[in-house]
């Protein structure tokens, strides 16, 4: 089996996450991104591929392209057939942040470990005889159910738009390919193109369209993984009150004691039809309480990962503390709310507004959750942030899944290769094979099969006779 990988723990922020990869020689492939720091017996200078089955190691996970460290992880090796799937496997336990997980997966994709299809680990396990025979029917049902779910997904408006867009790119590539094939198949025909200029132009244009689509993946992630909104502020600025208001019930423990929220709390809902996760955090302050300090640290992490930060300033908050805590945040995604407006106005309001302006943060709003004053403004802020990032109402197309993004990136790199081949005069037959491989990648999204489409295009486009 060619190696594939996926996140094995649920999506969403957690302490640690586990990424699994399965396939022949997988540890050999992944060893390029793993520098082992320590393993059993205090051995240090070993490579991932030299680890034995069931052996774990503490390691640095790096992007082999940039040599940048992504995370410090624990890797465990499983040797065929003694693994879940029955093939060689590795498990990477990394930190639970979304960015970390995605970076590791991206590196794995780039190393040639493709994204797993739905249910693929289980299916492989079954095929390798790792599962009980009585489960056979259940597995078959799962596979067919998966495919119908995928079909449902494909019929959604967004997926349809993505397919349409890729189909347009495919048309361009088929047209380039049919010109190449015409040159090969009917060299003496009067319709046959004389040179490869137009072919090169078409491949290059398809490549740039594919790249654009692949770049929109970051935005698409929001649609599948939900937009993350962190609620931040000094202790007792009303963060949990706001969350409970949004949740419509007491999700967080609300007290008047500053520092009550020590962990981050998450809550999923829809705002203006947009799926969002609100993250309530511990109030940000210097603290001697160890547990509270941990909460504060987590709040910082949550803010880093969030797509939008709602920063609450209570009437009693001092400008210096506000300044200290705000300055570490990415100003582009911060919106400030003067909370508890029922309890009065912050005396430093004007100075704070000037400070926000200086930091490049948009003008604040005033709300009172208690008296339900101006709370509707939150919907507007969420929608604005969402659209800015390129959500549903943005005119361009958003790539939804990591699998799609990986396929598009793979297609793009093949098209670069195809252009190189033409430029080096290596033969249009080789170029054609590479363009086909790129179309196989996009075909995994659109479901089109190269050979059938190609004959069709040649016949439609050219007047061929003997």
């Amino acid at each position: 089996m060619e190696p594939f990988c996926a996140l094995s723990t649920p999506a969403g922020t957690s302490g640690i996450a586990v990424i699994r990869a399965s396939g022949e020689g997988v540890s050999e492939i992944v060893s390029r991104a793993v520098k082992i720091l320590r393993t059993t017996g205090e051995r240090t200078d070993v490579s991932l591929s030299s680890l034995k089955g069931y052996e774990s190691a503490y390691a640095r996970f790096t992007d082999p392209k940039t040599q940048k460290t992504i995370d410090e992880v624990v890797v465990t090796v499983f040797e065929a057939p003694h693994s879940y799937t029955g093939d060689d496997m590795i498990e990477i336990s990394c930190h639970g942040g979304q960015a970390v997980r995605q970076e590791i997966l991206r590196v794995l994709y780039e190393l040639g470990v493709r994204p797993a299809a739905p249910g693929e680990f289980t299916k492989t396990a079954f095929i390798n005889g790792k599962m009980d025979l009585t489960k056979a029917e259940a597995v078959m049902d799962i596979i067919s159910a998966d495919s119908s779910r995928a079909l449902d997904a494909a019929n959604t408006q967004l997926m349809g738009a993505l397919k349409d867009k890729i189909s347009t790119v495919e048309e361009t590539l088929y047209s380039a390919l049919s010109s190449i094939e015409m040159m090969i198949e009917f060299p003496e025909h009067d319709d046959t193109p004389e040179n490869t200029d137009l072919i090169k132009q078409k491949i290059a244009s398809a490549k740039s369209d594919i790249d654009m689509l692949a770049r929109s993946f970051a935005r698409g992630r929001m649609l599948t993984e939900r937009m993350k909104i962190a609620i931040l502020g000094l202790p007792n600025s009303g963060k949990s009150t706001l969350l409970n208001f949004l949740a419509g019930f007491s999700r967080a423990i609300v007290t008047d004691t500053p520092g009550t929220t020590r962990d981050t709390l998450e809550f999923n809902t829809q705002i203006e039809g947009i799926p969002v996760t609100f993250i309530d955090t511990a109030g940000i302050r210097q603290t001697d309480d160890e547990i509270e300090a941990m909460g504060v640290k987590l709040a910082g992490l949550a803010a880093n990962e969030a797509d939008l930060v709602l920063y609450l300033i209570a009437p009693e908050a001092g400008i210096e503390e506000v300044k200290d805590t705000l300055s570490g945040l990415d100003s582009g995604k911060v919106r400030v709310l003067f909370s508890k407006s029922d309890k009065g106005t912050n005396p430093d309001k004007e100075a704070i507004i000037t400070l926000l302006d200086m930091l490049g943060i948009k003008a604040p709003e005033e709300i009172s959750v208690k008296d339900n004053i101006n709370t509707g403004v939150i919907g507007g802020i969420v929608k604005e942030a969402y659209e800015k990032a390129g959500g549903i109402n943005a005119g361009d197309i958003t790539v939804l899944s990591g699998r799609h993004a990986a396929l598009l990136n793979s297609a793009s790199s093949k098209l670069v290769q195809a252009l190189d081949i033409i430029n080096q005069d290596l033969g249009v037959d080789v170029c054609s094979q590479v363009v086909r491989a790129a179309l196989c990648d996009t075909g995994e999204i659109t479901g089109r099969e190269v050979s059938e489409e190609l004959a069709q295009t040649i016949f439609e486009k050219f007047c061929i006779g003997k």
Partner: protein, 646 residues
């Protein structure tokens, strides 16, 4: 009808007992009969007319893109088309020289009458093979106790009954055929030859579904009446190996003296004549109902479908050395004769051309190819094999490719051995057979290189490497030829190793060679193999700095160069092939009840039940079977094995 019933007919008599009967002596039938006979089967080959054996009723050429590769493949398996073509060629060219080695395609113009005579002689000299001119009208078959049909012989119109263990039918365009020129419809085979009546009805009575296709051929003119002075001339080439590997290994070259071809363009007058008479075209008036090929439209079709194209190119090809007859390639039509004369006279240089044969369209019966196994044996009647146009293909080469497969497998069937299947990664023949029997076709199927997924690997130059061991296994390759084949690839291997291990420094001599080719001189030592990998550097170009180079035959150095240059891509291709092979090797039992498999979609159940694919790989190519269905089948197959490994 079985033998007993056949012999009970009036005037019927037992005329012969054979291991294999081959009906039809076109390019498929000749290969099939030859293969059966060489495999040791007592074989008889029937033809409607012995003087038209291995006829080239359409264009007088063999080879071309994809087709040239097929000729090499048939030869590599031990077939005859390449040998006869080498003996009868009057012009040879290598198409696509500049487009990469995978698509280099040899093509030759044939001396048409000579071809027929040579093939006849070759078959007459083949041991175990009888030739017989007769009109076969019935397939004979037994029914076994399960009600399954099994071919057991044939019967001719004169009541002669021939018993046989296997029957191969290669009926070409002859079954219930009719030719059409405008309003004139004649019940005839191609070239005015007799047609076959009764055989397709007999097949249909056994439950084999029939289809009807159409094809056509252009006019022939006398060259003395043509003014060639203003025409573009296309000369033959000499640096082209012969078709046959046996000939190539003997060091045989193509003839020095070759006959040219010519080309002209249609004029506005041609277009006018055609449009003025379109109402008389049987294609547009609805007289012709058979499906014609898209890649070989008649000239009226080309003008109708591509209205923005004002002119089309016509090639003028010689039909032989001892005839003045010329073939007008690209000018096929089914318009009436008097219109054909006007059309020909509208071409520059052909104003006074004398037409010797009219163009015509021809309709014929064929069988539904999806009722065949990959061995080309019928799923409906055991021991019955079909090859060539009867299976929906078009072209001499495509016919020959199927002919040798049908012949080999008829032989294996009689010998009680496992069938031999060439898969899509092994040859164009494999692609051709798999496409026909798995997907079927709604027009005469022409091979194109783009139909092959593993094109970089399916080259004309390595057809022997791919297929000669298979031909050997079938018993079609002699000891001498096999030894020569092994020696050739031993030399290829040695020379590759030598080039990889021979290093040169950045000497002035090397710099001079590289500079001439516009390539950069390396800063340090480099192997000769690495230099050949560069796009502009050929094996020959390095001769001056490669002092210890052994003297090697051209076919060996060609193979070495291609292997080195495309190593990286070939490796990728190999990975793809390995992946493909995994699914091909997962065999599906023929008695699988697809309707009972949970998880399969309804459409897939129906299609799979109907097609009974031989492997998961073949199942995945059936239209209407989705990747999810394939996953379900994979799981199903595992359940048959009987549970977990541990």
């Amino acid at each position: 009808m079985d033998i007993k019933e056949a012999l009970a007919q009036e005037h019927a008599y037992l005329a012969g007992e054979y291991d294999a009967v081959v009906v039809g002596a076109g390019h498929a039938g000749c290969e099939a009969a030859h293969a059966c006979a060489v495999m040791g089967l007592k074989t008889i080959l029937f033809t409607l007319h012995l003087d038209s054996l291995a006829n080239l009723p359409c264009n007088p050429s063999i080879g071309g893109t994809a087709k040239g590769q097929i000729v090499r493949e048939v030869d590599a398996l031990g077939g005859v088309i390449g040998k006869v073509a080498d003996d009868c060629l009057i012009q040879m060219r290598m198409l696509n020289r500049t487009k990469g080695p995978a698509v280099h395609s040899p093509r030759a113009q044939m001396d048409r009458s000579k071809y027929s005579v040579h093939m006849k002689e070759l078959l007459e000299d083949t041991k175990n093979l009888d030739l017989r001119q007769a009109h076969v009208t019935k397939l004979l078959a037994d029914k076994d106790s399960d009600g399954h049909l099994k071919a057991c012989g044939v019967m001719t119109e004169s009541g002669a009954v021939y018993t046989s263990k296997a029957v191969v039918i290669c009926s070409g365009t002859y079954m219930d055929s009719r030719t059409i020129r405008g309003e004139v419809i004649v019940e005839s085979g191609p070239d005015g030859l007799p047609r076959s009546v009764g055989l397709s009805k007999s097949l249909s009575e056994y439950g084999i579904p029939l289809l009807r296709f159409k094809t056509g051929t252009p006019v022939r003119v006398n060259s003395s009446s043509i003014d060639f002075s203003s025409m573009e001339v296309q000369e033959g080439e000499h640096d082209v190996p012969p078709f046959s590997f046996a000939h190539e290994m003997e060091g045989r070259t193509v003839p020095d003296e070759q006959t040219p071809c010519y080309s002209v363009w249609t004029t506005p007058e041609t277009r006018e004549v055609i449009f003025a008479n379109m109402d008389r075209s049987p294609l547009y008036s609805g007289v012709i109902k058979g499906t014609g090929p898209r890649y070989c439209p008649s000239i009226e079709d080309k003008f109708m479908k591509f209205k923005d194209k004002t002119r089309h190119q016509i090639f003028i090809e010689p039909m032989g050395e001892n005839t003045r007859e010329m073939y007008l390639q690209g000018f096929s039509t089914s318009l009436p004769e008097e219109v054909q004369v006007k059309m020909v006279h509208s071409l520059p240089g052909l104003e006074n051309a004398v037409i010797q044969r009219s163009a015509y369209a021809i309709e014929y019966d064929l069988i539904e190819p999806t009722t065949l196994k990959l061995s080309l044996e019928s799923k409906i009647v055991s021991g019955l094999f079909t090859a060539g146009q009867i299976n929906g293909s078009s072209g001499y080469e495509e016919a020959a490719g199927q002919g040798i497969i049908a012949g080999i497998n008829a032989g294996r069937y009689v010998q009680g051995k496992e069938e031999i299947i060439i898969d899509r990664s092994k040859g164009y023949i494999g692609v051709l057979v798999d496409d026909l029997v798995t997907k079927g076709t709604n027009e005469p199927y022409r091979m194109m290189t783009s139909r092959a997924e593993y094109r970089l690997f399916l080259r004309y130059d390595n057809a022997d490497l791919r297929l000669t061991p298979i031909g050997r296994e079938a018993g079609l390759i002699s000891d001498d030829r096999y030894a020569a084949f092994e020696k050739k690839y031993e030399s290829v291997k040695e020379e590759r190793e030598r080039l990889a291990g021979t290093y040169t420094g950045p000497t002035p001599e090397l710099a001079k060679i590289l500079e001439q080719k516009g390539s950069v001189t390396p800063s340090s030592g480099v192997s000769l193999a690495d230099l050949i990998k560069r796009p502009d550097i050929t094996y020959d170009a390095l001769a001056p700095i490669d002092k210890d180079r052994p003297v090697l035959p051209r076919d060996v150095t060609r193979a070495v160069e291609t292997d080195i240059k495309y190593e990286g891509y070939l490796k990728l291709e190999e990975e793809k092939i390995n992946k493909f092979n995994k699914l091909e090797k997962k065999k599906l039992p023929q008695d699988t009840d697809y309707s009972s498999i949970t998880g399969l979609r309804l459409e897939a159940r129906q299609k799979l039940d109907q097609m009974k694919p031989e492997s998961i790989g073949q199942a995945s190519r059936i239209s209407g079977v989705s990747p999810a269905d394939i996953s379900v089948l994979l799981v199903y197959l595992e359940t048959l094995k009987g549970g977990p490994n541990e």
